[in-house]
Symmetry: C2
Subunit: 349 residues, 2 copies
Amino acid sequence: MSTLCQPHVLFPQHKITQQQMIEHLESLHSDHPRMALAKRMILNTEVNERHLVLPIDELAIHTGFTHRSIVYERAAREMSSAAARQALDNAGLKPEDVRMVIVTSCTGFMMPSLTAHLINDLGLPNSTVQLPIAQLGCVAGAAAINRAHDFATLKDDNHVLIVSLEFSSLCYQPDDTKLHSFISAALFGDAVSACVLRADDEAKGFRIKATDSFFLPNSEHFIKYDVKDTGFHFTLDKAVMNSIKDVAPVIERLNQAGYQQNCAENDFFIFHTGGRKILDELVRHLDLPSERVSLSRTSLSEAGNIASVVVFDVLRRQFDSSPKPGSKGLLAAFGPGFTAEMALGEWAA
Amino acid sequence: MSTLCQPHVLFPQHKITQQQMIEHLESLHSDHPRMALAKRMILNTEVNERHLVLPIDELAIHTGFTHRSIVYERAAREMSSAAARQALDNAGLKPEDVRMVIVTSCTGFMMPSLTAHLINDLGLPNSTVQLPIAQLGCVAGAAAINRAHDFATLKDDNHVLIVSLEFSSLCYQPDDTKLHSFISAALFGDAVSACVLRADDEAKGFRIKATDSFFLPNSEHFIKYDVKDTGFHFTLDKAVMNSIKDVAPVIERLNQAGYQQNCAENDFFIFHTGGRKILDELVRHLDLPSERVSLSRTSLSEAGNIASVVVFDVLRRQFDSSPKPGSKGLLAAFGPGFTAEMALGEWAA
């Protein structure tokens, strides 16, 4: 077994309300024939505010992939170390206790990966296993948790540090004028998290009992990047909304196998917030009252979809809600592939 | 335990000899003050020939990251499936037997990763775990082997398909005129490999006994990318040559712990071919006669440094050399970080 300890989540300093974002898009594309529809759809996302690594007027001028990569790297180095130090402290561990470091981020690219920076900056052991994950998008946080759990199962001092960081704003493409680009530009937010998975269970948190992975065939076009001179261009096919009906039975099967009960009988949920509609589909197909995923809804409202960081932001909110020891929960996230990663866990206090 | 089965290695159709590459660089940069020195250093690499996904005259015109990403994706989809089918056949497994698919590639970027393509195209199970590794450069092949071994240790049907592909030529930057850029342009080659790690040991090959990871502090600048509008720009600090003296004692310690003997007493070596000097440093610090790494030297001469594919190309040559059952070997690769990944194994026949 292994336990996900209390994560530490950081947000960059610049904030933008959804109203400000709508005004920004309206002013930038004042003659766009579908702006009224875009505005309605953006209001429908139920994102109220997001954090950005640069103010929106700077982001509206595309300074190129070269410049944005420099901004990405500087912010990544600063914020990842700060989050990681606090996460180690939350877990009651020291840098020398870490055996593997995983970094997830799909909104910029560095080689060496930030795993190298973290070993140097925190003073992790020279034998630390590095696992950078760049290509799993929004599901990468849950994938990191499940791979960390695998590694922790091998040895009871195989503690893992997971750092997730997304500066989605550096993938904002002001010249992309398709409807789905406007929605993405108003949906994704920036954030950094760090979380320790303790292999010895000597901590409070989400104690993992079982994990599962799911891939939906022939759905590569649902969520994808076009890689261009101007960086990563996100594209989303609305067919992605149909994926949850296929994932829900897999989630129920994992839940039945681990707890011998339906999801509806679980105590808590740590769900990725792909968007409001994804959460609506989840509660519908898992037969849950809507308020059971309120932690995810609050995260979406306060931070936007922060990609691989979401599950850690929701986990942080779960810590704050003082759950009962032994309560039964489920963690799940979704991303490109189409891919889902799921974990069953009980609350250890 | 787990066994690396016979890999399948494919090369793209275009070939270039080192003499042709020198002529190309001389013609492109006829007034460069250090071209004579560059020529001597390129001859010193002992690369005779390389394979390229596009002919050199096309590569000399930088068509932009947008266009190169399209070329990368098409070649990656075609060649990865072909290599993977043969690798499964070599391992005596069917697509439905695969539990994890790892793809390593640092010379292009796709999201969804090629792992999604392989699940779709080969018909791997919907529960297949995906692990795309983009940021470990030349060490990614050995890192994939070691993470596959970890996963296989959990369950004896946890078979892993590892696909490595590098189209380094699509990172050729004809406008980069520093000396190290000329050397890189003449050193790195294109190739694709696929290899199955069987968790149940029911196959011939490299049976893994133990693995280790090593990180050299404060060496992020040794091997790195600058990420620009024109794609990935490789930079190499010559200080990287000093890294092997620090890695060698770690390799010897792993060897002593597993075999109770020095590396010099081993029967075979599957070494990454960072370059001629890296191989020279390895034999010097491990006290080996130079011809003990002849498989790596031949790979370098015939294909150039094919990054994360190298260890699989050398493993393929090891299969062809009909090693004695029970002979003792060591696999090691090096890459950005500076990072080394190592595995001890015996030959199973």
